[in-house]
Symmetry: C2
Subunit: 292 residues, 2 copies
Amino acid sequence: MSQPSSRTVPSARPIGIFDSGVGGLTVMKALIERLPTEDMIYLGDTARVPYGNRGPETVRRYATNAAALLRSHDIKALVVACNTASAYALEALRDGLDIPVFGVIAPVARRAAELTETDKIAILGTRGTIQSNSYQRSLLNLRSQIDVYPVACPLLVPLAEEGWTTGSVTEQVIEHYLSPLSGTGVDTMILGCTHYPLMQQTIAEVVERLPFEVVTLVDSARTTSQAVEEALREKSLLSDENAAGVHRFLLTDLPQGFIETAERFFGRSLDGACEHVDITDSTFSLVVPPTG
Amino acid sequence: MSQPSSRTVPSARPIGIFDSGVGGLTVMKALIERLPTEDMIYLGDTARVPYGNRGPETVRRYATNAAALLRSHDIKALVVACNTASAYALEALRDGLDIPVFGVIAPVARRAAELTETDKIAILGTRGTIQSNSYQRSLLNLRSQIDVYPVACPLLVPLAEEGWTTGSVTEQVIEHYLSPLSGTGVDTMILGCTHYPLMQQTIAEVVERLPFEVVTLVDSARTTSQAVEEALREKSLLSDENAAGVHRFLLTDLPQGFIETAERFFGRSLDGACEHVDITDSTFSLVVPPTG
């Protein structure tokens, strides 16, 4: 499917947000708080979740399909609210699209590098994100003397998806992951997973109880949404509407219990705004019209 | 690929074991304890795990591919050590194969129905297994007056895969899932997931602490392996070898950290016995030679 010609002025078009599952909803939620009058379309590739275990080629193919589907809805910018796709597919998406494309890794790494005073930064993420070295590379490209402390926290995603965002179990799991960091001089922690904003308060409480100096948490939802707002303002792509934006949710599969989990991530009802879409390699591909 | 003609006497051929991931290794481990001289080939469809969220048609297609791949290794029997595939694909596999096919649901349901005195049986499983109603149906087909108490325990699989099989966190999670059952008169609990034998001791300890009468745990690994042994003996398909059996492990993907997790499930080293195999819809399909 070729990309549609723009039927409206660019700034009035929706922002597209893409994730393999529900995690990206924390990014969309932060974007809505910041840009309440923007129209937004979320695409969750729930039929092919999780991306974390797939090879880079497969992730690029899936992300390209997803981006093309969103592009067919005439989006003005694409937010890749998925760590795996941000790590492996961002360049391919930027090459294939004629709109601004944002990932979740670079803005967060940049913010953490600005904030740290000890140049010691911890990265909390899924095993896949940690093993991809994407945050590590991004930080070291910014300043090579940064000491990076990667911490794989594989139990936090299932806990967040089950709604166990507070309480004794989650506190003990977080303490298990973070206590080896105390005494290292780490003063900044990257919450390198779109699920973690849901348990940010609990993480902050555990950090406070452990023998750390003052630690700043940098989460991908708020940091990415700030970067998106700044870039769209600079490009004069912010909507000048006054009414609240329209939000749509496209899902490639609707597994049982999904809406409940999604609403937990989104922080409010998705009342009837979820639509099922088919996505296959052949249906949607990026065909960029020649420029000029 | 058509099924090979048997090159050896049937009883000398290996047993095939299939799961979407690592869970089935607990079944293989129990089978080896029971049948140490049998050759066995395990197939983990790790490239397409998890099956739990896929539709019945997809699960049937995946399971049929996997069975055909194992059949091409001249197996004498197939153990479907996967709850989802046992629920959705067993009949198709039996129709398509000329060897005995065993699932994990029916033997466990039968054993639980034999053991209960109160006719109140709990089923612990993943959300997918519980929602499939497969154990529930199987129990009610055996005896319609059985009261079934299904309990979705979604956090137990990630805890088991991470090696958190004992300790305070896992105990609290188990207690959270099981405490609503106390006072119901449940005297038998089906561990309806191949991951759960790894935390069976912890489950038993929590049950003992909670205000339950005596409760018997029925796990799929030991119960299925017993059913397989009995059926193969009856069909004169047990090996008459005296030497220890040869064990091979075929995996459709080798994600990082997989071997470590697999060894935790298997209870010993897989030293070099893992092989990568490609599996696609087109490579392997069941072609049953006409009988008679």
